[in-house]
């Protein structure tokens, strides 16, 4: 059994990483999950969060804002809407993301007055964003 998987992280604008990894932690829409070699084939959507890769070349973290991931026994592909390596994440960039999520929540509250669904989703998005900030120490407060 191979003990590494091929990990690819791509955003629409570029390929961020393509390395061998022992395990990859992914913020799935229905909960975090860690993929290792011979994981059952799975396609999941992502919520905003941190993708953590640990492999022979060390551990690395990426901030993603959503997208989806395709996992099978030999490879993990994360297709992120936006992805930034954690060390490249600046306070300004984080603030822009949080502001976007805040705006989205405000819009949803205006637009769907009697439908909690979209409002809850937007609120969750914002909460996820704030959680990222807490994790990487860029929290807005």
């Amino acid at each position: 059994m191979a003990d590494t998987v091929q990990f690819d992280l791509v955003s629409p604008e570029r390929l961020l990483a393509s390395v061998a990894a022992h395990e990859v932690s992914i913020p799935g829409a229905e909960g975090d999950l860690t993929a290792m070699a011979d994981h059952a084939p799975l396609i999941t959507t992502l919520r905003p969060g941190i993708v953590r890769v640990s492999g022979p070349s060390g551990e690395k973290e990426y901030v993603v804002t959503g997208g989806f991931a395709e996992i099978n026994g030999t490879s993990v592909s994360v297709l992120a809407e936006q992805a930034v390596a954690r060390e490249d994440m600046t306070k300004e960039a984080y603030q822009t993301m949080v502001n976007a999520a805040t705006d989205k929540l405000a819009n949803a509250q205006d637009k769907y007055v009697n439908e909690p669904g979209p409002v809850d989703e937007a609120a969750k998005l914002l909460a996820d964003m704030v959680a990222i900030g807490d994790h990487i120490g860029l929290s807005s407060n």
């Binding site: 791509v10 629409p12 604008e13 829409a29 229905e30 959507t45 099978n72 297709l79």
Partner: protein
């Protein structure tokens, strides 16, 4: 015979034109490399996206309750044509070719009794479409402030298109752009984005790996399809960017060469008339001397 001073001015003016076209060509060459890089960088995402999309569509594609973005509205009456061109001219037939393809298609649809709506992206396309199909135009997206097209720009266009789709404004959406083949050939292309055209995807149906979906297929598909529209538009924008620079580069190369030819011709003419003037003066002097 044009006098010497006029010719001299003419030569000077063509020379400065040549300098300008030469500079534009070099700028286009540099921008082309950047545009090609951007297109290259975006390719992995598009490829993988389409692969996942193919798998998903294959597993829910013919279900009766497939999302409308995949299955369509069940009608084929109103067509939305998204015509994507450049913001600037001076790039050969680039804008005209895209507009021509869109016009042909629009005429074809109208002849079949369909309704046509047009959204233009890029100033040049709007100008070209306005002449004949102005009354069908329903919107225009301006990218003239954008220095480098990013995914956010594609998302904005996609949001506009999807908003219209949700409002029931059209049944089928197609995008028009130019595919970058190489520097001298850019192919105007039409691509259907709504409903999502599964047949265009490379179907690598390896049924031996059965995928789990989290959340279920329907939810993922509902999440992915709007993204698919944005991805298709983004890819088209990048192709367009590379094509525009390629077209401008070869157009400006031609212009530079033409200017060179013109300068040669004018210089020969200038020298001839200069010599003619000298000969004339000599004749005058000699005949004056002989007369004494």
């Amino acid at each position: 015979m044009p006098n010497l001073k006029d010719l001299k001015n003419r030569i000077a003016s063509v020379k400065s034109t040549r300098k300008i076209t030469k500079a534009m060509q070099m700028v286009a060459a540099a921008k082309l490399r950047r545009a090609q890089d951007a297109a290259e960088q975006a390719r992995p995402y598009t490829e993988r996206f389409n692969a996942v999309m193919g798998k998903l569509a294959a597993s829910v594609g013919d279900a009766a309750n497939a999302p409308r973005l995949l299955a369509g509205t069940g009608e084929d009456k109103v067509h939305l044509l998204v015509v994507m061109t450049a913001e600037r001219g001076l790039c050969g037939g680039f804008n005209a070719n895209i507009a021509k393809l869109a016009k042909l298609h629009a005429a074809d649809l109208l002849a079949k009794g369909k309704t046509v709506k047009i959204v233009t992206v890029g100033k040049k396309g709007r100008d070209a479409m306005r002449r004949d199909y102005g009354q069908y135009s329903v919107g225009h997206i301006d990218l003239s402030e954008v220095k480098r097209v990013g995914y956010a720009d594609a998302q904005a266009i996609a949001a506009d298109v999807l908003g219209r789709f949700d409002a029931g404004d059209f049944d089928v959406a197609k995008i028009f752009f130019s595919r970058f083949e190489n520097v001298v050939s850019q192919i105007p292309t039409m691509q259907q984005v709504i409903p999502f055209d599964v047949t265009e995807l490379e179907q690598e149906v390896d049924t031996d790996s059965y995928y789990d979906y989290e959340p279920d297929e329907q939810a993922i598909l509902a999440d992915l399809l709007p993204r698919g529209v944005a991805t298709a538009i983004f890819a088209a924008l990048l192709e367009n960017g590379a094509s525009e620079q390629g077209a401008r580069m070869s157009a400006m190369d031609n212009a530079t060469r033409n200017a060179g030819d013109m300068i040669d011709r004018l210089t020969i003419e200038y020298n001839r008339s200069r010599q003619a003037v000298i000969t004339n003066e000599l004749i005058e002097i000699i005949s004056g001397a002989e007369a004494l």
